[in-house]
């Protein structure tokens, strides 16, 4: 007798994997667990590989590819927002959004193919180039809109990457420590990809931030330092937003920093407000907000969570409508393929290049969408033609 346990039997095909599954619920304690584990292995069980249950569920048709990827996201979900997002994918939110684009595209494909193969039929009309564009443009727009959610989706899944930028001794490290100090229990350290910076993860109000502390930026004639600055700039460029820290007492030249964060949403933190304020030229920054505080006295720091959230939202982090977000690089690539093909089809139609050439790109676009939620075959298209049109002599 190892333990008194509860055994649950899930009969195929209604289990998670689609196979017969027995679940043993044991009492806690590492020794008991190990003993039970060894006992079932002695009886012929084998330990699951990582992802084995999902793989089997997928192989048995219980989950589609999107759902498997969503499970991986649930397992790896770092924040509340990304967990919610992952759960909604699991429920098929993204699948629905893709299917909603696939349906009108398949309809358009059907009309174009009907115009080619059934051009002699009296009850099949030959779709015009104008109608192809009129029907295809909303699909292209829809794909583009979905693609536009990539940044927001990625930020939910991977976190909002915020570069902390400033001249040396402006208070960047103090700011980082201060932010991390607010929720120390959730802080983890992620090794930077280069030695030049480190990346810290911060959970705040359900949003995950990746705070990147960069080397100080300043103008320099020194060649090696200039290379370091160039690398820091690269780091900044791959971020979603920037917190620019300025020494309010002695700001120094800000031109380099201004250039480095160009194009990113920025919050300006004017530090050392307790030491008195100099005149600072901030008009070069496209700042979401400018806030004065003192990290040494703590005066004004209570506004930081709100500022971070505003920064995240300015970077495209969207709290609403989470079900239709692209979060995986594969999805993004596939949707980009779908969009490129759709645009090629539309320009071929606009140039009156012929149905067979338009059809080629429509097919590529449809195949790309099909790789997300299931293919639309030529047989499916023919089926729709026969269902909708009276063909045949």
């Amino acid at each position: 007798m190892l333990d008194e346990a509860l055994a649950l039997f899930f009969r195929a095909p209604s289990s998670f994997t689609g196979e017969d599954v027995v679940e043993l619920q044991c009492h806690g304690g590492a020794a008991t667990m190990r003993a039970v584990f060894e006992a079932v292995i002695a009886e012929g069980a084998v330990p699951a590989e990582p992802g084995e249950f999902s793989r089997r569920a997928f192989m048995n048709g219980r989950l589609d590819l999107l759902q498997v990827e969503a499970i991986a996201d649930v397992i790896h979900a770092g924040s509340e927002a990304s967990r919610r997002l992952a759960q909604q994918h699991l429920a098929g939110g993204l699948s629905k959004a893709v299917d909603a684009l696939k349906a009108p595209l398949a309809e358009l494909m059907m009309l174009v193919e009907a115009a080619i193969d059934f051009s002699l039929e009296e009850h099949v009309y030959s779709i015009s180039a104008d109608e192809i564009v009129a029907r295809g443009q909303p699909v292209a727009d829809g794909i583009e809109a979905l693609l536009g959610t990539w940044d927001a989706g990625r930020m939910k899944r991977d976190g909002v990457r915020v570069a902390i930028v400033g001249r040396p001794n402006a208070g960047k490290s103090s700011l980082l420590n201060h932010l991390l100090g607010q929720d120390r229990a959730l802080v983890t350290e992620v090794a930077g990809t280069t030695r030049d910076y480190i990346e810290e993860v911060l959970q705040l109000d359900g949003v995950e931030y990746r705070l990147v502390d960069t080397a100080g930026l300043r103008s320099s004639d020194d060649r090696i330092e200039a290379m370091g600055v160039a690398r820091a700039r690269e780091v900044v460029r791959s971020s979603d937003a920037a917190l620019v820290v300025i020494d309010g007492h002695a700001p120094g030249a800000l031109q380099e920093i201004c250039e480095a964060v160009e194009g990113l949403p920025v919050v300006l933190i004017i530090n050392k407000s307790d030491l008195g304020a100099a005149v600072i030229a901030t008009e070069g920054f496209a700042a979401v907000a400018t806030h004065a505080l003192s990290l040494s006295t703590g005066h004004g720091t209570e506004a930081l969570p709100g500022l971070l959230r505003a920064l995240a939202e300015a970077a495209g982090y969207a709290p609403g409508d989470e079900s239709v977000l692209l979060t995986r690089a594969r999805h993004r690539r596939v949707m980009q393929d779908a969009l490129d093909a759709m645009r090629a089809a539309l320009s071929a139609a606009a140039a009156d290049l012929g149905h067979e050439l338009v059809a080629l790109d429509l097919r590529l676009s449809l195949d790309a969408l099909g790789s997300m939620t299931g293919a639309v075959t030529s047989e499916d298209i023919l089926h729709r033609i026969f269902a909708d049109f009276c063909v045949g002599k």
């Binding site: 689609g18 793989r55 089997r56 997928f58 192989m59 048995n60 048709g61 590819l65 193919e113 080619i116 193969d117 059934f118 051009s119 002699l120 009296e122 009850h123 009156d352 012929g354 149905h355 067979e356 050439l357 059809a359 080629l360 097919r363 075959t377 030529s378 047989e379 298209i381 023919l382 026969f386 009276c390 063909v391 045949g392 002599k393």
Partner: protein, 631 residues
Amino acid sequence: MNVHKNSWDVIIVGGGHAGCEAAWAASQLGCRTLLVTMNIDTIGHMSCNPAIGGMAKGHLVREIDALGGLMGRMADRAAIHYKRLNMSKGPAVRSSRTQSDMRVYRREMQRELMYTDRLEIKQCSVESLILEEVDGRQQVAGIVDHLGIERRASQVVLTTGTFLRGLCHVGLKNFAGGRAGDRPAMGLAAQLMALDLDVGRLKTGTTPRLDARTIDWSVCEPQPGDAVPKRFSFFTEEPMLPQVECFITYTNKQTHDIIRSALDRSPMFTGVIEGAGPRYCPSIEDKIVRFADRDRHHIFLEPQGLDTSEVYPNGISTSLPLDVQIELVRSIPGLERAEIMRPGYAVEYDFVNPIQLTPWLELRKLPGLFLAGQINGTSGYEEAAAQGLIAGINAARRAGRQAPFVLGRDQAYIGVLIDDLTTQGTTEPYRMFTSRAEYRLLLREDNADRRLSPLGHSVGLLPERHLDTVRSKYETIDRIANRLRNTEIGPSEANVALVADAGLGTLKKNTELATLLKRPGCSLADLSAFVPDAGLDQLSDEIAEGVEVEIRYESYIERQREHAAELRDSDRVHIPGDFDFASVPGLSNEVREKLVSVQPATLGQAGRIRGVTPAAITNLWMWIRKAQAQA
């Protein structure tokens, strides 16, 4: 080669469009071949409409011709009306169609086969196949006819058309028959059933035939053929018959009412017919029920030949009782006094689910037995002929112990056809459409010779001299196309004027002639002034079309070639014939069942099976590699 009496290398059962091509191919490839048919007089008979070609079917005919088959040449000899379809669309989707004098077609096909070396023709009704065990496996060894006579061959090609347990319906009356006027094949059907094959039932139908003398042609719209006929054959200029017109008339509300009121006597709507019919070729009663909002349907009145009064009213295929057929025909303008010479009818027949075949059309369960045509669930003369040709070639290659001959989906519509059949199977009569071909821009009528003639020659079907014709044609096309790509003209005053005069717009900078050719409305002749020595205005239509297509489509063709290359890669991974799909772990039951039933020959074919996922293919690939590493 076996020279014993009553023994051949290949026996072809059936003399329809599949059987004719199979017999021709096998004998051309050097095999002693026997064609058996229930009736020698009906070899090459057109049981349904008197036409060859049509959308995507024209492509098949051109491919058969390019490989060295018969259909294109016979269709040219029998053609009484040529029409190239989809001329307003691009060259990839233009198809040729002819009306045939069906009696001339049959006669020419019989003449061709009767004087083919190594081919014998015998009239008999095959009752069963001779099966023998070789090395513990059952194989086909010949046929037994209705008189009990055995004829032996290690390769048998079955092309039974609609004859397997054929049942004809006119109204609620039905009678056993492979088609009206012919007996069915019952013994063979029973034997195939006993072999525990997956056999299904299909249905097709045909129209009543009308007497031309009783039609008021003056109220029908004439449909002339093309002024300059585009012949099917790439190689031989067959003699041409006088050309005639077709006519169009229409059904109306009265016709539809007559049909509706008689549905209780329709074998289709009363459940007497069980087999699935083709949705792209519905009966008139089906059209009226399913598309009740249509107030008319067109009918093409097609002559069946030059020396017959029979007319084929294309569009009113029906299995309603004869009295209803008479009434509905006479409700149609121009047909008020029309006499029906033969009633329309439906025919039900057995077919063998083609997923049981290899990609070279051999029945996996019974080595040496090849199936082609309607027995594989297809419809159409052209689809049948295409399969017959491939089955005949492969029967001959098996006799000579050579590797199978398989065309890829990127090489030919024939490849698409056979891959679809053997990979997906079918539940209704399968017809070719251009939309089934994913590499449609590569598979054109105009370049069927370039794609296939080298292959036709290498298997021994196409004579060397024909291949030479193809080579020199494409040398010319490539030379001219390259000349246009490599010749630039500048915006000199003279050039600007020439471009404007040809209606090709403006010329602002140095421009390649190939780029000019891509402008809308530009033809090769328009460019001849820029390269006077190239003789662009004197090219044959065939060469000019070839050059124009190469250049106008080039970016699209290039993309399709790249995609096709990816397909080739996965089709190059062969799966051993004895590979045990059931042993591959991690596959869902559904996928495993499909793989076991299709037994794909390549990884590419496995991936095309509907419902087989990319993940399953990855898994399968790993196991194939593992099996190969162990072997």
